[in-house]
Symmetry: C2
Subunit: 153 residues, 2 copies
Amino acid sequence: MNIQANGQKEELQKRLTRFEAQCREKGLRVTKQRREIFCAVAQSCEHPSAERVFVSVRKTMPNVSLDTVYRTLASLEEMDLLMRVGLSSKARFDGDLRPHCHFVCTRCGEVYDIFPQADETAFALPRGARDMGEVKQINLQLRGICKKCQNKN
Amino acid sequence: MNIQANGQKEELQKRLTRFEAQCREKGLRVTKQRREIFCAVAQSCEHPSAERVFVSVRKTMPNVSLDTVYRTLASLEEMDLLMRVGLSSKARFDGDLRPHCHFVCTRCGEVYDIFPQADETAFALPRGARDMGEVKQINLQLRGICKKCQNKN
DNA sequence: TTTTTTGCAAATACTTTGCATAACG
DNA sequence: CGTTATGCAAAGTATTTGCAAAAAA
């Protein structure tokens, strides 16, 4: 999603403020690059890839390097300022096609299954889905830090 | 998910039958490699990566090549015999952290947002999630063929 | 000033492709 | 037997890392 879509310029400002606060809290410096990269993702409605963010940021900062974009996107994800769609790098496969959830640990990359308990109702397909195309698979992805990683601290 | 988990040996047989039927229907040959690779994913509970499937299949077929594994996983996905967790190769980012859905086109890779309509209730976190770790983000992923790709035929 | 971050270049994953041979139907 | 699938090797992407110089606090 993007900010232009619901026409709120103040929303961007709000997110920027949160961004700066989060940086300070984590002891990260608020650099021009970080701000530009954060804005590029926040303003885009196309779920940009690293490469695309890079191209976009280059327009105002012709010297940024692609690896800075990668590093920054990773740290923004770590700070919960943006989310990664899908997994990082490696593809993984699942032979069970019944609707079920995946808990994805953003630290170690592990994927855990969560099956709905007997009394839980299956989640309904959102109505808007029909307009997008033919839905063949449904997968609810939860992202966070798994127990194992939590205990490593 | 896997088959061992719910202790159904017959389930594997059932899936194998479906696998063979699907292959014939699509005019694909039922080769030893395809069967082994399909079984490796169906029997695993660890959402294996291509590399891991490769290692596993090598135990019974020391000559399979990694590229055959990649090709086969792709065609099994195409036949809807398994699902890919996450996206293929390229990572994509989203600056909007509110729970919303992504429609992922398995043909062109495009990602579309779906926002719940006003009267739709937000999906509840499955109860099992709590045991996995701390959930920071929720993302419902729908996979299929988008309208644009459908019209290309 | 001191420490973090950047840009560059090079290295490392991960995945895909061309082509001759082998295998399925 | 004709066609598809495999294995090999090599190429193509995507992502990560080491290090000296530049920038933030």
